[in-house]
């Protein structure tokens, strides 16, 4: 009970831990002090009592700080530079010094005095810290949370993609369980996430507290039954139709009736995978790109039976993860691989014909089109066997010779020169 706590700065900070902004109300003159005072600052009466204050206010004045103090950083509050500091006026009258969150840190000139803001409590190892965010954003976040009641997510498979997706989900503040068939794979995946998150702390992108919170939301399991209370399941098992169908059939029996089951397949038919379940309307393709924590794109693929509701729920969920969604009607290779594979193939044909050297082709595509890497370097990165698989699949599905893999690519795959993973592809990585 508020009335029982002594009037002190310690009590004030304990109330913040309960997400309450508590000041003192003077019973003589009705003046409110924040933080609390034992002596009313207006009439000097000692007849004061606790008063809970509104969590909405307006920006009285603000700044955007490029060098922070250690006590602030040590609280694990926010290590992004620059950060906003503001004085916020509450409707009851008092003002309070707080950090502002949810404004673009690089554009202070777009922030206006008088903007409505809402309290947002940030957990730190020394308790809650009070920050304020734009009221419009707070309402939006609340609406999303209400509309899409996604409290728990499951990821099947702790490989590169599975681990990356689990990390992205945990970073968005949602609990996630990752399952795999062998402890070895599971531990490897969880370690990858840990390393990635730790590196973000080292780089100053997030605080240790934030990192601990992210890792705390991730749970590993060898039992597929662990996904039974998940609202969304994302399967990230190897690209094998029979394996995926088996998993989907099992998931169909384990998952809640209204759970959505997504697959991270990069090329297989969503419609066919969905056919293994009794709920094809709840199945959707959710194609993340590697590395998932960094790559912004998610291709959202609609199978033949995917319902509007499923599609919209997953679309909102993926946006909440901070990704950009591109909507795709199921077709072989979706968008990225359908265009990428023939481009790489054409680059290999050009090399084969002696149009230019590998370096020449890559340089031309990099500088001519502003691609971050040339197509041959990219092929080495993806793995030539994977490129060949995609081309074969597209050729088989479309029957169009424009997807036919060129002979040099086939030859290199037969020779076991698959790119970076075998240390030799179009380039030599053995040194």
């Amino acid at each position: 009970m508020a009335a029982e706590k002594e009037i002190s700065i310690t009590s004030y900070e304990e109330f913040l831990n309960e997400k309450k902004i508590m000041g003192t109300l003077c019973k003589e003159c009705n003046h409110i002090d924040l933080p609390p005072r034992q002596i009313c600052s207006k009439c000097l009466s000692t007849n004061v009592e606790w008063k809970e204050l509104s969590q909405n206010g307006t920006i009285e004045t603000f700044t955007n700080i490029h060098v922070s103090t250690t006590p602030f950083i040590q609280r694990g509050y926010d290590m992004k530079h620059p950060h906003y500091y503001a004085i916020v006026k509450l409707p009851e009258g008092p003002m309070i010094s707080v950090q502002l969150v949810g404004f673009d840190p690089s554009k202070p000139e777009t922030v206006e005095v008088g903007t409505p803001v809402t309290a947002s409590f940030i957990p730190t190892k020394e308790g809650m810290l009070l920050a304020f965010e734009p009221t419009s954003k707070a309402e939006e976040a609340e609406k999303i949370a209400e509309d899409y009641k996604i409290k728990k997510v499951a990821v099947i498979g702790a490989g590169t993609m599975g681990a990356g997706i689990a990390q992205v989900v945990a970073e968005s503040g949602v609990k996630v369980v990752v399952t795999d068939v062998a402890d070895e794979f599971l531990q490897k995946g969880l370690n990858t996430i840990k390393k990635f998150v730790t590196r973000s702390v080292d780089k100053g992108k997030i605080s240790q507290v934030q990192a601990d919170a992210i890792l705390g939301r991730i749970e590993g399991s060898l039992d597929l039954n662990a996904v039974k209370d998940a609202d969304i399941v994302i399967e990230a098992a190897p690209e094998n139709m029979n394996l995926k169908k088996k998993i989907f059939s099992d998931l169909d029996n384990i998952c809640k009736p209204d759970a959505i089951i997504g697959t991270n397949t990069s090329s297989l038919s969503i419609t066919e995978i969905a056919s293994a379940t009794k709920r094809p309307e709840n199945v959707v393709g959710v194609h993340f790109f590697n590395p998932a924590p960094i790559m912004k794109l998610v291709e959202l693929i609609r199978g033949y039976n995917t319902s509007d509701e499923t599609y919209e729920t997953v679309q909102a969920f993926v946006k909440k993860l901070g990704k950009t969604v591109v909507l795709v009607n199921e077709a072989p290779g979706f968008i990225v691989n359908r265009i990428l594979a023939p481009m790489i193939n054409e680059a290999i044909i050009a090399l084969q014909e002696g149009v230019a050297s590998a370096e020449g082709i890559d340089t031309a595509m990099k500088l001519g089109l502003n691609h971050p890497m040339g197509p041959l370097t990219l092929a080495d990165f993806i793995g030539l066997d994977v490129v060949l698989d995609i081309l074969n699949y597209l050729y088989e599905e479309f029957g169009d010779p424009k997807y036919k893999a060129c002979s040099l690519l086939k030859k290199m795959v037969r020779a076991g020169q698959l790119g970076r993973k075998t240390r030799k592809g179009f380039y030599d990585y053995s040194k």
Partner: protein
């Protein structure tokens, strides 16, 4: 109330060089300032005449891990076994020490005292200095809210801009003026005009072989990346310097002042005020109540008003601080500080020269030494000893020294 029981004069005044001195501690800085002040006493002064030392220092304990500073400093200049005490009021430490010295003489307790200020700041990194300075603000609200000292003055600037239409260009005009004055002060930490700094940047770019910047004028330079944002809207050139330095004056009662000099500078007004500690508890953020209270006391004691002041050293720890100071002191109307600065009215040849020394911005801001260093500048100006930056025929001057964001302010008025 509000009267000195006897008149008090400054009979000698000096400062150390201001700057970043890796080989100097507070000890050497202080001895340098003490000797400079001693040598300025026209008829000489002997240590045995001095009855007490009032020393302003903010945080030798945090900067240098040296506490109990007053007896140490007294000892080093031969003042032991006289009374020695340290006064800490953040950046107003030595301004308050000066006031304590004045009160001690006016009360009849002493005839001659030494008042000093000293701060060695360049022992720490900029980030650590930021921490030490921030400890002069409210830990539970301002610091946990993420602020810093530049941050607190930045919110004052944002409020002033929103309320009065003060512009970044007006802040830049302040900076250009401060550098013009500092360039004429041989003891300043950064005795360069903004134009000279621009030439240096161009020269350095040529030496490094990087692209040579082109600026049409100082304003373009001050809007460029060469003047990085510290706390929006304050940039590097809006902030005072991190400085090692010391300052010293000798005060004497009227009865003995003539022994030391024929041209004493009389302290005819002294005032000090305080305010709510945290900015967020104030009804206005575009004015410092403590400074208004202190100046009103000082004006009343001196029997003068703002119109009588001919020259002033004000606490320009940030550009916006000078702008609100010249409003709070009544030199210009509330809200017009930025505009009059841009119009050149506070320049060395303006109607109201402000911070002829270069101010905290270019002379430097060794926090505990600043208050007395301001008195040293007024002492020199009123005696016609300010060399290239001398304002002709000035008789009445004022110093305005602020601690924190105006939790403390102290104002003194001087007459030749």
């Amino acid at each position: 109330m509000g009267k000195l029981l006897r008149n008090v004069a400054v009979v000698g005044a000096g400062v150390s060089n201001f700057g970043n001195f890796p080989r100097k501690t507070n000890r050497e800085l202080w001895v340098e300032a003490f000797l400079d002040a001693k040598n300025s006493v026209d008829n000489g002064i002997d240590q045995k005449d001095v009855e007490a030392l009032f020393l302003g220092n903010y945080s030798s304990d945090l900067f240098e891990k040296q506490g109990h500073l007053a007896p140490l400093m007294a000892d080093l200049v031969g003042l032991a076994p006289k009374a020695a005490l340290k006064i800490e009021d953040a950046c107003a430490s030595s301004g308050v020490a000066l006031r304590m010295g004045v009160l001690a003489i006016a009360s009849g307790m002493y005839d001659v005292v030494c008042v000093g200020g000293t701060e060695k700041m360049n022992t720490l990194s900029t980030a650590e200095v930021t921490d030490v300075l921030a400890s002069a603000s409210d830990k539970h609200t301002e610091i946990f809210g993420g602020s810093t000292f530049p941050g607190l003055y930045a919110v004052i600037a944002t409020a002033h801009m929103a309320k009065y239409g003060t512009t970044p260009e007006m802040l830049m005009a302040y900076s250009i003026k401060a550098h013009n004055n500092g360039a004429l002060n041989p003891k300043a930490q950064m005795p360069l005009t903004v134009t000279e700094i621009m030439s240096r940047r161009i020269r350095r770019a040529k030496e490094k072989g990087i692209s040579i910047p082109l600026w049409a004028d100082e304003y373009e330079f001050l809007k460029s990346n060469y003047n990085p944002m510290i706390a929006y809207p304050l940039r590097l050139f809006d902030c005072s310097l991190i400085t090692d330095g010391a300052s010293c004056v000798f005060l004497a009662a009227e009865e003995v002042a003539k022994r030391y000099t024929d041209t004493p500078i009389w302290i005819i007004g002294s005032g000090q005020g305080s305010d709510t500690f945290a900015l967020d508890d104030r009804t206005t953020m575009t004015s410092l109540k403590a400074a208004r209270v202190a100046s009103q006391q000082a004006y009343k004691m001196a029997g003068l008003g703002p119109q009588d002041i001919q020259i002033a050293e004000v606490h320009d720890c940030f550009s916006i601080a000078e702008i609100i100071a010249i409003e709070d002191l009544g030199f210009f109307e509330q809200g017009t500080g930025g505009k009059v600065t841009q119009e050149g009215r506070t320049a060395l040849d303006g109607e109201m020269p402000i911070n002829t020394s270069g101010g905290l911005k270019t002379k430097g801001h060794p926090v505990g030494a600043t208050g007395v260093a301001q008195a040293v500048e007024i002492f020199k100006q009123l005696r016609g000893e300010a060399e290239k930056r001398q304002v002709p025929d000035v008789e009445i001057g004022l110093t305005h020294n602020v601690g924190g964001t105006g939790g403390t302010a102290v104002v003194h008025i001087y007459r030749r």
